[in-house]
């Protein structure tokens, strides 16, 4: 019995560690978000669609940014730097191109050569050949793309299906905790996850405090 339990825990640990071993192309990913992504990490050369939450996309970037990689955001004129810093994004290595105008894709292509993770909000419908070309450059230079909006060929799609805030009442309190229900669509099939932010930071445990 003791032996069986040991074998089981070891197997569990192996399965937990296996996705991380999959390739060298895994980027640092916050442990709370590993379940959301196929392979358990943000992968170099991949495109991920995040719809419904800028906070989630910044959280995806935060670990890579904090580990010293240069990251950036294109097409976010209303970028909240303070919230990003709270999530762990290193602002001095986070390049902002707030208003790329018609050059969105070409700027993304240029920056994909130096940035490790790129957040992109396309201003218009992206043609599939542009997306193909950008994907090739991403693979070449080992960058990951996080798209806020539509993208023709994404490895996975994270769609926020529910959002619940805690801490704010009817005329009192303030926003403290944020619980997102996220549906991920990738090669593993659709899955549902819960992501919790507390005081603007990723939090593992599910808080049930405060009025909701």
């Amino acid at each position: 019995m003791n032996q069986a339990a040991t074998v089981r825990t070891l197997q569990e640990r192996i399965t937990q560690m296996q996705p991380l071993r999959l390739g060298d192309d895994a980027l640092p990913t916050p442990p709370e978000l590993r379940d959301l992504l196929p392979g358990g990490a943000l992968r170099r050369g991949s495109a991920t669609i995040v719809s419904g939450s800028l906070q989630l996309s910044l959280a995806l970037v935060s670990a890579a940014s904090a580990s010293g990689a240069w990251c950036g955001a294109i097409g976010l004129p209303e970028f909240g730097a303070e919230a990003a810093a709270e999530l762990g994004v290193a602002l001095d290595r986070f390049v902002l191109v707030p208003d790329p105008g018609p050059h969105t894709i070409s700027i993304a292509g240029t920056l994909s050569e130096v940035l490790t993770v790129l957040i992109l909000r396309p201003s218009s419908q992206v043609r599939s050949q542009d997306a193909e070309r950008l994907a090739a450059r991403l693979r070449d230079h080992g960058a990951a793309l996080v798209v806020l909006g539509q993208w023709p060929k994404a490895e996975s799609t994270l769609r926020v299906t529910g959002s619940r805030w805690g801490g704010l009442g009817r005329g009192h309190g303030m926003l403290l905790t944020h619980e997102l229900t996220v549906r991920s669509d990738d090669r593993r099939g659709p899955r549902h996850h819960t992501v919790v932010f507390r005081d603007g930071r990723l939090s593992g445990a599910l808080p049930r405090v405060g009025a909701s």
Binding site: E82, L96, H103, I107, L111, L168, H172, L176, H178
Partner: protein, 582 residues
Amino acid sequence: MSERAERVIVLWVPDWPVHAYLSEHEEAGSIAEHLTLALIAQHQVVACSQAARLAGVRTGLREREARSRCPDLEVHPHDPEVDVRRFAPVLAAIEQTIPGVEPLRPGLCAMRARGPARYFGSEEAAAATLIARMVELGFPESRVGIASGRFAAEQATRAFEADPGVDIPSPGVRIVRTEHTAAFLGPLSVARAASLDFADVLARLGIRTLGALAALPEDAVRQRFGSAGIVAHRRARGLGAAHAAEVRLRDPEIELSIDCAFEPPLDGADQLAFACSSSAEAFTRGLIEHGLVCTELRVELTDDIGIRHDRTWAHPSHFTTSDVVNRVRWQAATVPRDPDRGGSGIAEVRLTPIRTAHAASHEPGLWNTAPDERVHHHLSRVQSLVGHEGVGTGELTGGRLTAERQRLVPWGTRAETRRAPRSRVRLRDGPWPGRITGALPNTVFTQELGAELSDALGAPVRPTEDDVLASHPARLSIDGKHLTAAIEAWSAPWPLHERWWAGGRAGYRIQVLLEDGDAWLLRYEHGDSCQPHGPDTGTQDAPGSGRGPSGALDRASRRVSGREAAREIQPTGRWLVEAHYA
């Protein structure tokens, strides 16, 4: 006694303030034998001409006493700044004869003797050349003293022919050989080497000459008089400075700025940048020749009718040629174009290094952060697409509103200048009461975006004077569009008062959470609180309300239109969207 001081040349122009005064006021005439002139500061004579000195006027004399000794004395106020300014070209001229000069004070400078003595053949020849140069400059009464150590050389310039140990090979030159130094310094008064108080103390102890001071054991002097005593003692013994170079040469001034003129004037930023590229190359090369790099650059663009646009650019590391060209291009692109004047363009470009650093401190290290170079290269490319301000990194600053707590720092702007105290950037370290805590919004609107809160009956919701909401908000519309989800929760209105003593911003902020989980941060901005009736009745302030006309103007501009003011009895104000929790 091992550390004999090195040989030093001291050049002295007697009565320098008088010379400076006369060259400043040319109409006063050249210095004449008969001109009795004294310069006065705080009722004491600072300097006087030779004729005045013959009449009995001395430096340090009271003005009244000087006038009584020499009734036709011309008295003028002394301006030390003129002395320094007029001496600078003299120094530059001396530097052309003997490079490496230490200015001691206006009218007095020191040089190392070894190099000139070898170059001109002997110390005498060097001194004669120097005197000849000074005669050319119009100072025939200049004196040159050469001795071991700066102090002895300075004393030598004042020496008389009869003094022991002094050679006078040519007029105006006094040379004291190393072996004669002790004999020369010995009979001089201690007041030459020590401050007045200290010399007074020594004189009362019976030590009246430098020879007597030099005869004392060094330890005894140190124990009794400390560091001041040691300084005087070393001077008296003819020793050099204990821990420093005898002569500290000033850095020769070098011209690093570059001008280029264009005929005909150039219109268009790219054209100008291309035309400037060779000048930029010369600019950086000139710096490199002196082992320098430029870290802050001023670009002055002058157009054909003489209007100048200058701007100072800082660089995170240092300017390379292409960086300089880029700055010129960016600046030229921002020069306002006046449609009324045809054919205007840039006629002259001037590049001036404001701040330089040693090139050695900007060399990349062995383990340099190599990606930075690539990042810089690519971001510069993107900058050429979207403009200098279009690419940058975020920076956190101080403030209460979320939009004020951050700013975009354009790429290629140095960190230090961003924190200059005169800039509008406020320090983040302040407590900033009223800032948002808890969860922070990640979409911050910098442009005004109107919002409207309404209660279940559709009436607008506003904060009352008691800092509470007049009714429960139920619906939110943003920029005229009604959001479908009803309001689920909201915070108390948090009052916001900034610079209330100067008519600053006042209002409230509120967090609103919709049923679908959408959260917004709204700001209520007070309109004109005394505008209840009619479109035009309330434009003047109530007398004695203490509000200035500028405040009234400000409020009038912010006021909603007269029609709305007539409709609403409530104090007018409006909701704005400050940020969104996206």
